[in-house]
Assembly symmetry: C2
Homo-oligomer: 196 residues x 2
């Protein structure tokens, strides 16, 4: 239930139309909360119906025409409430880890290539974050707002650093593993075809 709050935050930073929001969700905000344009339009409708935002007055509100929104006091209050409320962290859910566990049972064939691909993807993401850090947070830029935003970026950088290290380690580990075309032996029996 965080999308509306992501949108409120974005709109407070700068009133925008649906498409502008979509663009911003592809860049900055999307780095830790992604959303498609359909999600955004739907949510804008709801937020407007609830009186949390309103469309900026425009001439002819027709289709295919930009419609910009701004946050109303009620929306700001809701965002402040949500921000200060306690939320439990979501448990980890990662496909690659699941695949490795599966590989221990059905064999490691094919996984290594994707491990390398992920390593590459995470390296790129890390480079992108570091570029942003250089650009947006030069030494000295440390007002309260900068500190908060830098903290968030820092999480992204450290996370990607973790993944690149771990994936590099995983790739090494695979190199030392035996053949890798067959199920790894040593575990429970593989299920054999069985007639009934």
């Amino acid at each position: 239930m965080s999308l509306p709050h992501a949108i409120l935050t974005a709109l407070l930073e700068k009133p925008s139309s649906g498409l502008e929001l979509t663009r911003r969700f592809d860049r900055s905000i999307g780095y830790f909360w992604s959303a498609t344009h359909q999600q955004i339009y739907r949510e804008l409708g709801k937020l407007e119906a609830e009186g949390h935002i309103r469309a900026l007055p425009t001439e002819q509100p027709a289709r295919g025409q930009k419609k910009s929104y701004e946050v109303l006091p009620a929306g700001r209050a809701e965002l402040a409430r949500w921000t200060s409320a306690a939320h439990d962290p979501k448990p980890l859910r990662d496909t690659m880890l699941l695949r490795l566990r599966a590989a221990a049972v059905v064999g490691t064939a094919g996984v290594e290539a994707d491990l390398r691909r992920h390593l590459d993807l995470h390296r790129r993401q890390l480079a992108e974050y570091e570029e942003i850090e250089r650009r947006d947070f030069p030494p000295g830029k440390d007002g309260p707002q900068d500190r908060l935003r830098h903290l968030v970026l820092r999480a992204g950088i450290d996370l990607e650093t973790f993944w690149t290290r771990w994936l590099a380690h995983a790739v090494e580990e695979f190199a030392e593993l035996p053949s890798a075309e067959q199920p790894v032996s040593g575990g429970p029996e593989p299920a054999r075809p069985q007639s009934r």
Copy 2:
């Protein structure tokens, strides 16, 4: 679309009933792929209908009675296929990061307490993982299967280490921040109530 494969993996490791699976999803597998019992029962039904698993023969298959499943060859093949196929990593989606970004606009009141709470939760999780590492992977236990499983556990440990460090840093940062009851100044104008 990973739940069925998580279940297939679990069933290959050991044929189980729905409830046993649920228990295992609360412990080991759930550390990187959580699922509720309803999800599991529903998925067991689908997997059986598709011919990927079958119920172990039992006397009277009625309600409120354990029904255990085992993986059929087709299920094993499907799991092998899925494991070796390429999957893009899911983009990060984290509420706490979003809240910090929101806090930069609507004020930091209330966030610090939850930051500390999360720090505590992640420390506990880390301790739990390290305990498992001590117990299940003593030095010397490094067959191919052990290595793979240890690698997965290692990801969990390193991730929790990252979070505890980052959260500790965030808490420090907050301590240095001014008052924190008001929206942090220096950004875009707060939206003021406006009559139309």
